[in-house]
Symmetry: C2
Subunit: 418 residues, 2 copies
Amino acid sequence: MDIEHYMHTVGRQAREASRLVARADSQAKDQALRAIAGAIRRESAALLAANQEDLAAARAAGLEAALLDRLALSPKAVAAMAEGVEQIAALADPVGEISDLKVRPSGIQVGRMRVPLGVIGIIYEARPNVTADAAALCLKSGNASILRGGSEAFRSNRTIASLVYEGLASAGLPQTAVQVIETTDRAAVGRLITMREYVDVLVPRGGKGLISRLLAEARVPMIQHLDGNCHVYVDDDADPEKALQIVENAKTQRYGTCNTAESLLVARSVASRLLPTIAALLIHKGVEIRGCPETLSLVGEARPATEEDYATEFLAPIISVRVVDGLDQAIEHIDRYGSHHTDAIVTENYTSAMRFLREVDSSSVMVNASTRFADGFEYGLGAEIGISTDKIHARGPVGLEGLTSQKWVVLGNGEVRS
Amino acid sequence: MDIEHYMHTVGRQAREASRLVARADSQAKDQALRAIAGAIRRESAALLAANQEDLAAARAAGLEAALLDRLALSPKAVAAMAEGVEQIAALADPVGEISDLKVRPSGIQVGRMRVPLGVIGIIYEARPNVTADAAALCLKSGNASILRGGSEAFRSNRTIASLVYEGLASAGLPQTAVQVIETTDRAAVGRLITMREYVDVLVPRGGKGLISRLLAEARVPMIQHLDGNCHVYVDDDADPEKALQIVENAKTQRYGTCNTAESLLVARSVASRLLPTIAALLIHKGVEIRGCPETLSLVGEARPATEEDYATEFLAPIISVRVVDGLDQAIEHIDRYGSHHTDAIVTENYTSAMRFLREVDSSSVMVNASTRFADGFEYGLGAEIGISTDKIHARGPVGLEGLTSQKWVVLGNGEVRS
């Protein structure tokens, strides 16, 4: 396959289709989404069979268990995929919404209209459900999409793609509104991330390795996050009960998610009172504590933390712990070691709460709540395509709105500028 | 000078200062801005003297008249510069504003807080007033800035910089919150546009040559527009009087601005009735008409338009004119030849107006108003740092809000995720 020619064609088709989906009314888009969900349900057996072939090939190639786990589809997972697409159909259409319309002294009315970004490139690893999910979010937000899944999920993704194409066609929308790359050649990714003339934004979904590689080479703007090194800071004025529950939930509810707490900071004035109890609970749940010297003196089971530990997203039952002077040092620590993803303070003090909210430079900042809430569904976005730790365009969980832009609209009655 | 070392220092200082200005309260920022304005007024004579030196050097180097004109400062221009800075001080502070706070089923409240972007790099050509203007907008929005003006304005910019530093210091803000590059070496620009670790966004202000060069080489996201090829479309249902006034204003009020109309599209059904009158008025004002064959048959003085003419931002008393079938062909033409800057329809037809607003993919779309309104002041932004034709982040006139981002804030009462 001539990758250069192929990707050029995919890009041009996406650009052309983007004009049509941008103008499509909500009814057509939702009809397509419901048809896609219906097709996924109807072809569940075929999809599971294709997935079995991917799994067999992956096992033969000696892929590790975690990857196989993410690759595997079950009848339940297929049903959830169809439901996810239907949920996106049920969301309000963001496109065309006019807001902030104000009359100006010249007589013109000036406002903003929400519009699609154009063409979105999605690059993802094993999970095949991303194919349906990302295609649905891009379509609902009026964008054309180009999807490049992991080579290990090639057969699963190709099957889902055919169901997406069927759904688009049944609603009179161009099939090229969603294009799944039909080659596992890595050169296709190289082209996708540099085709500025055809691709408006990239949303990579995958591990740190993938994201770093793309960041180094992409010429197209990217909505991404590299790391989720999230902190909980237990302030001098923390409510002990809230501190215990929030740390437990933030660290142990799930170990492998990007909004899991990886580091605990405790104000010195309450450390001897609160830290032993909190540590005991974590240890009881099987979490390894890596602490500063003061932590070690309060928690017998703790191991010493290295500089490296404070900067690490463990994605595992390990937490770094540090006793700090108070709010200022906590903010400094988060600024130095954190990844600007999600950080929380536990405090009953109004001024400390407000300073933490204002001064911690992360995509989500929280008072008296678990970092695990940093999620598109929990925030009421309906769904999320990813989480951004960038400040340009979208920050934090990115839903339909993050896949759109706003243009200015001016409503006049013959006004001219003087 | 070791440019690599120098720019690294500038970048690091900007990053450090950005944390302090992000936290600075409105009072300190406004005090600094008023002090800067006061210093500009007080040192008007010194500033004009420095500008005379720049002008003498520019004349000696044989710079063209248009460039000399943009470089020259007058006592009136210096007063306007000081006033501009005071106007920015008087604007509402966007930083820290919390919006859209909503209670979620889990009990947490989720909202968004407006925060600075961090470090803004400004690259501009001759006009020295940009130094004061850009520094003020970045400071007010809580950002640190690195300014790189044209080498021909070096002495003027250095003088303004010293007044900015004085104003910052007098309000207890770090002088490194605004840094004017102290070398005319081009390598400094090369570093500035690739220092992703230090610079969050670039705002270039200058001609198409500058912007294209930067676009090709920058690794930092950019808020920019390349071209302003703006259209007025006179629809089948246009009010003849409004059409005449809007075309006249959009084309002739100023020839050199990016929101000036460069192309006129007229629906065939009204062309013979309206085009001769509109063309006569433009010709009377000294505008050259370059038209399609139908235009030529209606307007004796018109010259034939080339493909190239339709794609050109003339920035001069020239307009391209085409008779089109109607709305669909007008939208197609704008999509093909336009620059996604600002386009207007003149119509009394509701459905045509709505379709034009929705389907024309430009940063500003207008109904029955002159394209000349596409401007931060006219839109009520108070001031503008530039106009963006990009869809990522900021689109259209960019004011204080475009120099900020929004982070998520979560206010809880001990909630955990289940």
